[in-house]
């Protein structure tokens, strides 16, 4: 059974550019969350999507946006990249029937470097 898949694995972008990161959840998982993990820090919540609707948003600027598609895959977009956006971007999927806090499966992430 495939886990959460993210693409690309690594990415190098220039300041001011835009980037799109992709996530395919585990089959049957309708909830997708995005997290940013800066080197040496724990992951920080960016977005949660469920049934194609945004259900939660963390403390990130409007340069960050996301969407979820009918097949429950998701994209995270970041515009006007800053050096500080360099991080590991993690996607987590979860079955809607699981208990609160439980059942999040993370992908291996996309390592974004902004130069």
């Amino acid at each position: 059974d495939a886990g959460v898949t993210q693409s690309p694995t690594h990415l190098i972008k220039t300041r001011g550019q835009q980037v799109t990161l992709r996530c395919s959840p585990i089959s049957g998982h309708k909830s997708v969350s995005w997290y940013q993990q800066v080197l040496g820090q724990g992951p920080q919540f960016i977005f949660q999507y469920y049934e194609k609707e945004e259900r939660g948003r963390g403390n990130f600027p409007d340069r960050f946006s996301a969407r979820q598609f009918p097949n429950y895959s998701s994209e995270l977009n970041v515009n006007a990249l800053l050096l500080g956006d360099s991080a590991l971007y993690l996607c987590a999927s979860r079955h809607s029937g699981t208990a609160k806090g439980y059942g999040y499966t993370f992908g291996s992430g996309t390592r974004l470097t902004v130069v």
Partner: protein, 114 residues
Amino acid sequence: QKEVEQDPGPLSVPEGAIVSLNCTYSNSAFQYFMWYRQYSRKGPELLMYTYSSGNKEDGRFTAQVDKSSKYISLFIRDSQPSDSATYLCAMSLITQGGSEKLVFGKGTKLTVNP
């Protein structure tokens, strides 16, 4: 004050040692408590999950929660080199909109030496 505080270490122990990892938190709204393990270049994987004060054991791992002190711990018995990883505490928070987010500590990097 950060919502979740975790000593980043690093922590280095000999094989077979008992490891103790800790986090403190400030938000009483946290209801569910987790420990994740993250190997280099991988995403976090769930190790332990609990929602009540007390101890929960799973093999060599014991999770302890003290809600009155806002303190959680993870104990690893008979530590193995394969336990070398970063350990993240995480807490579940239900947002005003009804969604859920996980709030993580910084992570503690553990090395178990053969």
